[in-house]
């Protein structure tokens, strides 16, 4: 059973320590805000695993309220990440969502960014552990909201 958890935390990265990795031109990966929001990320995680899913399944799987889910789906559709289709099936309206090709590329790019960020964080921790007695340069905080809803 998954219980509650915080959806916001920070990865603390020391720029000086990142420089130690021989990467003077290093830039923090750009995070796609459309994908990064936990609710939208959960929706995209579901849709990336199937061809399409209907509104009811998305509602149950993501535990979002109908209103919130509807808003998030609209935002994703506006960003051309998903396609929404409404059709009549078994005498009821079936609203389905599917990932677009652009959405799939966007999601893949997002995960590449997150993996890069992860590697930076791990390198930073490793370097910090190895040089704990040395003076440290000022730290820079990179907020990573909602990463806990992420999937790899």
């Amino acid at each position: 059973m998954i219980t509650g958890y915080s959806t916001t935390f920070s990865i603390v990265i020391s720029p000086g320590e990142v420089m130690n990795n021989n990467d003077d031109d290093f830039q923090m990966p750009e995070i796609d805000r459309v994908v990064h929001e936990p609710a939208r990320l959960a929706i995209l995680t579901v849709l990336s695993t199937c061809e399409e899913a209907d509104f009811l399944f998305l509602e149950r799987a993501t535990k979002l309220s109908r209103g919130n889910l509807s808003v998030q789906l609209t935002r994703l559709e506006d960003a051309d990440v998903i396609e929404i289709e409404k059709r009549i099936e078994h005498k009821r309206t079936l609203t389905t969502a599917k990932l677009t090709d652009h959405g799939r590329r966007t999601l893949n790019a997002y995960w590449e960014s997150m993996h890069a960020l992860w590697r930076v964080a791990e390198d930073s921790l490793t370097t910090t552990a190895g040089s704990s007695k040395r003076a440290r340069p000022p730290r820079r905080c990179v907020p990573v909201e909602g990463l806990l809803a992420a999937s790899v």
Partner: protein, 231 residues
């Protein structure tokens, strides 16, 4: 610490992927009533003086009714849990469950519980296994039942699982069932274990596995993957 948190996040995402990819596999109530009905018939055959002919007919009727139930239960799951259309492309989780559409033949869009393959297996079951068992013919019920058990259970032992205990438990149950089935089959063939006892064990395990699948579906759907996110 961050790496641990990220690993946790990754695990939750994997569970969401698992739930979506196995949405059809986890619909255990499609088959559970059938196993339950056969278990009752087997118990009646062992413990009472019912006519074997009646029991054989009842088994055939239950088998025929199961076709209808497959359709009805599919509709019920759609109305209660929603619809997920399986991917046309291979999913990265590398599922090899033969119930999973990834394993379907190219030109069989309904491969799975409603597939022709599954229907044919049911016909084989109905036409050979049931009369053979309940009428006392030498129909080698053990071999065929083992085949069906392998079809039902073995795939659950191999596909990738997540770190969630309930998903891991599904694999443990499946592996335990396979081991038990092999053990009881050997006991049945070599040590004169009673046919009804063996059938009862087999059907009980199939029933429990499918009931657990249904519970697992609800359990995963009750998990909060978004942490009450609002924007």
């Amino acid at each position: 610490m961050q790496a641990t948190t990220l690993n946790d996040a990754s695990g939750q995402g994997q569970e969401l992927r698992y739930l979506t990819a196995h949405f059809r596999d986890l619909q255990g109530l499609r088959m559970a009533p059938f196993w339950g009905a056969l278990l009752v018939l087997t118990s009646l055959a062992k413990a009472s003086s019912f006519s074997r002919g009646y029991l054989a007919w009842a088994a055939v009727v239950f088998t025929a009714a199961q076709f209808g139930w497959l359709h009805l239960s599919g509709r019920w799951y759609e109305q209660r849990y929603g619809v997920v259309k399986e991917p046309e492309f291979p999913v990265r989780s590398g599922l090899i469950s033969i119930m999973h559409p990834e394993a379907r033949p190219t030109h069989a869009p309904n491969y799975g519980y409603r597939s022709g393959t599954f229907a044919v297996l049911f016909l084989i079951w109905a036409l050979t296994l049931m009369p053979g068992i309940f009428l006392g013919h030498n129909a080698r019920p053990g071999s065929l039942a083992m085949l069906v058990t392998a079809y039902q259970v073995v795939p659950r032992c191999f596909y990738p699982v997540t770190k969630d205990w309930s998903v891991l438990l599904r694999r443990v149950f499946a592996v335990t069932t396979v081991i038990t089935m092999v053990g009881t089959f050997i006991a049945y063939r070599l040590y004169q274990m009673g046919l009804w006892t063996w059938m009862a064990v087999l059907l009980s395990f199939l029933l429990l596995l499918d009931l657990y699948d249904h519970w697992l579906l609800n359990h995963l759907l009750d998990s909060d993957f978004t942490g009450g996110s609002h924007e």
